[in-house]
């Protein structure tokens, strides 16, 4: 029975439709059971996220299975099937395998390399397992898909570079400082983004954290939230002298950190690098501070530019990841075909062994006086004949499976040797 995947995703279906088709776990359980009960599918897994709804399965006629699955889904959600049907894509066999690998490896995601999808596929797999709709085919497919996803993450950098402004700031800091452990952070202002960036820095080992705010109570509150120290507004310049990274996010209309102020503190810093992350609009740090040696300043637009470059870098890496998925798909197909011929090889061996053992038993029964040596010789002779005969058909089966033309050979072997179906 062929593997298939059918569904819709952010690539072709609008959000209005996707949100109407999204289902929670309980409904999903119900749905899986209903779909399995129709008998149209042998195995089934339903993946439902905010960006895609897909049914993976094994079915004699994938088209029928797809209609059955989506009819049930649409009934559940009160959406007309006619609305969904034209948007559905169906991939069979090789394409289905490639699709499963690409989705799990986050190559088909809206933001390439986003990490959630792997967890979502794992959850869908666990749910289908709990509903007993996972058979050997989907089991092999998804176990491999998880392995491929891991490989893509470690061997390419599709998930390496930050695609959010606050993480981009942390990454920049890591290109200036050898490590963030022990780097002092000064947070100026109480903006949400500033707090987020400070939190990321602290998670990476930055310490200590100072907080400056025009409102003293707010400074204290924020300092408590970040396990830092509140510093009075007048001491901003003094604080500048002793820190490595400054995050500013005040609502001030004028810059709160001037070039002159930074210049005054640089003398005492002995060329220790100072990194300004200015998330405020209007900006808090005067543009001129860049010109000072060992001072780096990034405003929100600069950070966005870095994010754009990071996204381009991810897309470049995605090209490599696609190649990797392609190779893994080919490998998996070979394995799958081997898996298909192995039962036949086993039953062929069993069949001939059965005949051989029976005939040897009969012969030996007619020779009660035969010595131990003779008995062993007869046994060995028969085994050798069987093995010689088996050699050619088994090699042929293996060979044909690698070439992808094993189906007719399997039939032939079954017919010729009178093997039982399905064994």
């Amino acid at each position: 029975m062929p593997l298939f995947v059918a569904g819709l995703s952010h690539k072709n279906a609008p959000i209005e439709l996707r949100e109407r088709l999204a289902v929670d776990e309980d409904k999903l359980r119900e749905l899986l059971r209903d779909v399995a009960a129709t008998g149209a599918v042998g195995e089934a897994l339903i993946l439902s996220t905010c960006n895609r709804v897909e049914v993976y399965g094994v079915a004699p006629v994938p088209g029928e299975a797809r209609t059955a699955a989506f009819r049930h889904l649409c009934q559940h959600r009160g959406v007309s099937l006619g609305l969904v049907e034209p948007l559905l894509y169906t991939h069979v066999e090789t394409e289905a395998i490639r699709h499963a690998f690409r989705v799990t490896a986050s190559l088909d995601s809206m933001m390439i390399g986003e990490p959630q999808i792997l967890g979502q596929v794992k959850d869908a797999f666990a749910l289908a397992q709990a509903c007993e709709t996972i058979g050997p085919s989907l089991h092999t497919l998804f176990t491999q898909a998880f392995a491929v996803a891991k490989k893509v993450r470690t061997e390419t950098e599709i998930a390496r570079h930050a695609v959010s402004v606050s993480f981009a700031a942390v990454e920049l800091a890591k290109k200036i400082f050898a490590g963030l452990a022990g780097k002092a952070v000064l947070l100026v202002g109480a903006g949400k983004m500033g707090e987020l960036a400070a939190r990321h820095l602290v998670e990476q080992g930055a310490f200590p954290v100072y907080v400056v705010n025009r409102t003293w109570a707010r400074a204290q509150e924020m300092a408590r939230a970040l396990s830092g120290t509140a510093v009075p507004w007048d001491e901003l310049e003094t604080a500048l002298g002793g820190v490595d990274i400054v995050i500013t996010s005040t609502g001030a209309p004028e810059p709160v950190i001037t070039r002159a102020a930074v210049q005054r503190v640089t003398h005492g810093r002995r060329a220790r690098p100072l990194f300004f992350i200015d998330i405020a609009v209007p900006r808090d740090v005067e543009e001129g501070v860049d010109g000072l040696g060992d001072v780096y300043r990034y405003d929100i637009d600069d950070l966005k530019q870095v994010v754009d470059a990071n996204i381009r870098e991810r897309l470049r890496e995605a090209q490599r990841a696609e190649g990797l998925v392609e190779r893994e798909t080919a490998k998996f197909l070979l394995r799958l075909r081997d898996v298909e011929v192995i039962p036949t090889i086993v039953s062929l061996r069993e069949r001939l062994e059965e005949i051989r053992a029976g005939e040897v038993r009969k012969t030996l029964a007619r020779l009660p006086d035969a010595s131990m040596e003779t008995r062993q010789a007869i046994d060995a002779l028969s085994s050798a004949i069987v093995n010689k005969i088996l050699h050619a058909p088994i090699s042929k089966l293996r060979e044909s499976s690698r070439a992808g033309a094993h189906r007719s050979w399997l039939e032939l072997v079954h017919e010729l040797f009178g093997l039982r179906r399905g064994s």
Binding site: G293, D302, A309
Partner: protein, 268 residues
């Protein structure tokens, strides 16, 4: 040098250089792995070639400048292999190996081996040359670190991350690499030069005569001394220290060039 082995070593270095440069553009891990392998293979072959040559001559293979340069290359590659692991700078090879290649091709193409003056012998001479070579090797890395620093600094300042931005390590890491190699190379170079002076005084009766290599090596030494003092006392870092490293290395290259091409006591 042992010609065949040395040629094999140079071929390995050529392969390593090509792959290291390719790794700058094409980030495939296997390229880096093969480049590392080629570097190590080249270094091992080089080691055997030097040993064979030493046994053949019955003295360290340091008697002529081409020989000495070959040994310097050997030290540079060893240091580069160490620094790459120590600082996690996978692209280091792309910056060090071209220099290595330039030196080793130069040393291999000067095949003329003039007989040594009787004055040029004795353990002190070998120590003088050996120490100076380790110093030079450290300064090649110092130079590579400085170039990488300046490139990365430009990327960070331009706020437009390019290909190199993603591959080069943090500015602070590169600054540490240049500081460490300066601190390592300087005492070696200093002692090497001092021993040279002492030994020249004993061999020729005069401590200092106008020898192009000697004069230029003082210039290089002075630049490095000033950088080290600036770093240690005035807290120089970053760009300024990187420019100094490049100036020092330029002087050092001129020194070696003078030794290879101009007549003088060091000429070969």
């Amino acid at each position: 040098m042992h010609p065949t082995l040395l040629n094999l070593a140079i071929i390995a270095y050529v392969v390593a250089t090509g792959l290291s440069l390719a790794y700058l553009v094409q980030r495939e891990e296997w390229i880096h792995r093969v480049a590392s392998l080629a570097t190590v293979a080249g270094w091992v072959l080089h080691t055997i070639a030097l040993l064979a040559r030493g046994l053949e001559l019955g003295r360290p293979p340091l008697g002529t400048l081409p020989e000495a340069v070959s040994v310097a290359v050997w030290v540079i590659v060893l240091l580069a292999l160490w620094a790459e692991r120590q600082y996690g700078v996978k692209v280091l090879g792309a910056f060090v190996l071209p220099v290595v290649l330039m030196f080793s091709v130069k040393s291999a193409s000067s095949r003329v081996l003039p007989g040594l003056e009787p004055a040029l012998s004795g353990a002190w001479l070998w120590v003088h040359i050996g120490l100076a070579l380790v110093g030079i090797a450290a300064f090649v890395l110092n130079f590579a670190g400085a170039v990488m620093y300046l490139l990365q600094e430009r990327q960070v300042r331009a706020k437009r991350p390019g290909n190199l931005y993603y591959r080069l390590p943090a500015l602070e890491t590169l600054d540490r690499l240049t500081y460490r190699t300066l601190a390592l190379g300087f005492p070696f170079l200093t002692t090497g030069i001092l021993l040279g002076l002492l030994w020249a005084g004993r061999a020729w009766g005069s401590v200092f005569t106008f020898d192009p290599l000697a004069v230029l090596s003082f210039v290089a030494w002075a630049i490095y001394a000033a950088t080290l003092a600036g770093r240690a006392a005035a807290g120089w870092r970053g760009r300024r220290a990187a420019y100094c490293a490049i100036a020092g290395f330029a002087a050092l290259l001129l020194t070696l060039g003078a030794g290879l091409f101009l007549p003088g006591r060091h000429g070969g």
